[in-house]
Amino acid sequence: MIGLLKKHRYFRDHDLKSSYDVVIIGAGAHGLATAYYLAKRHGIKKIAVLDRSYMGAGASGRNTTIIRSNYLTPEGARFYEASVKLYESLSQDLNFNMLFSQHGHLTLAHSDRSVNTMMERAEVNRLVGVDSRVVYPDEIKDLCPQLDISDHPTFPILAALYHPPGGVIRHDAVVWGYGKEADKMGVEIHQYTDVTGINVENGKVTGVDTNRGTIHCDTVISCVAGWSTLVCDLVGVPLPLTTHILQACVTEPVKPLLDKIIVSGTLHIYISQSDRGEFVMGSEIEPYSGYSNTSTFRFIEDLAMHMIELLPMLGHAKILRQWTGYCDVSPDYSPIMGLTEVEGFIIDAGWGTYGFKASPIVGFTIADLIGTGKTPELIQPFRWARFYENDLVSERGAAAVSH
């Protein structure tokens, strides 16, 4: 009993050394997963993961934890599917229960146009082996009796894209799990270590400046999501991103009554019930860019209005808390991953409102890029240079609803 109550630290503190093989900026799920796979698969052990705040302080500790792979482009669907597969064995791999529950995901269509988009997504999904299909109100009623499928609401439900493997996970556990196992292999996690400069000589990275001193290294990976433009400014790499805040909220916990994840693009809302019984709800990014993490009442008002139309039973639920996080939105709703024009500076950005589900495959592929020197095929479509080649990967139809 006493043992159970003891506080656990999942990683050790270290003095900052003057040099490392690889420096990773950002101790979110992406940075820690990258460190883990670099150490595990490529034997690189002199790795420092630096964070200006605490581990998981960014969007990794603020997201609504939805994991799915029913994207619109073959490039996207393939990539996210590989991530879902890694998530399926992650609790075993990291010896940490992540409470991953794949209880199914429904994206509702309330207009002919969105029914068409769902059909297109279902076709693409089938082609690349993602389990997803279009279902109609009778079947929707079976899958999720809580939904109002009558023609009573302003926007009645016409169909839905059903994605059985879609699920939710305990996001903090993903961060801690990767951190704990990376630490075991010798990776150093340095909290409260702010990167204030990136040093480059003759077009090559030579190190980083921090509030705790200068570090020499040949490879720097930026895994800072919403802060990406600010970090890339330090090294002169331009980015096609704007940072917006995204808000979310939870209700008081109640007994289990909703086992599907419900998303509506038309109503701009999504909801799931956590294992603790809280309804976790979200909506769209704030339309203007910025770095001010201030929640708004307007968000709760709009969200509640639409949510009650969809799930009338939620009328009596009380909001427990609300919060915000940064999202780095790209022009095509796809990420930006890999090499830049500065040798040794690798980016992992453009994660908008959908990057948590990609954490394992990001770590896996970025580690492969560094370990082998070759860009893995899976992330080739997401290269930084695509914006100068006008070769975009438009996920607008599958990612514009934030999760």
Partner: protein, 94 residues
């Protein structure tokens, strides 16, 4: 409402009355430089600080105007008709 923005025509209103038009960018030249064109199309400054930006008063007079806003504090510093913003208080990069 999350902050108040003043339309040069209509005065102070909740930000929800407006549509955001993004940061003010310099129009690309009609030269043959593709890279410059794509840079103009896609790349953004995304400042954490004072930013000049476009707004459209969609639920009001339906006119476009410009504002200077501090993006970390969400504080509106000035608004003006297009092209009429006063020089920034701090020099760029300050």
């Amino acid at each position: 409402m999350s902050f108040i923005l003043s339309c040069p025509n209509c005065g102070p209103r909740a930000v929800d009355e407006y549509a955001y038009g993004g940061e003010v960018t310099e129009r690309a030249r009609t030269s043959g430089d593709e890279r410059a064109l794509f840079h103009y199309l896609y790349f953004r400054t995304n400042t954490g600080g004072d930013q000049r930006e476009w707004w459209f008063h969609s639920s009001g007079c339906r006119e476009w105007f410009q504002a200077e806003r501090n993006t970390t504090r969400n504080e509106v510093l000035q608004v003006a008709r297009p092209g009429e913003l006063a020089p920034s208080r701090e020099p760029a990069g300050g």
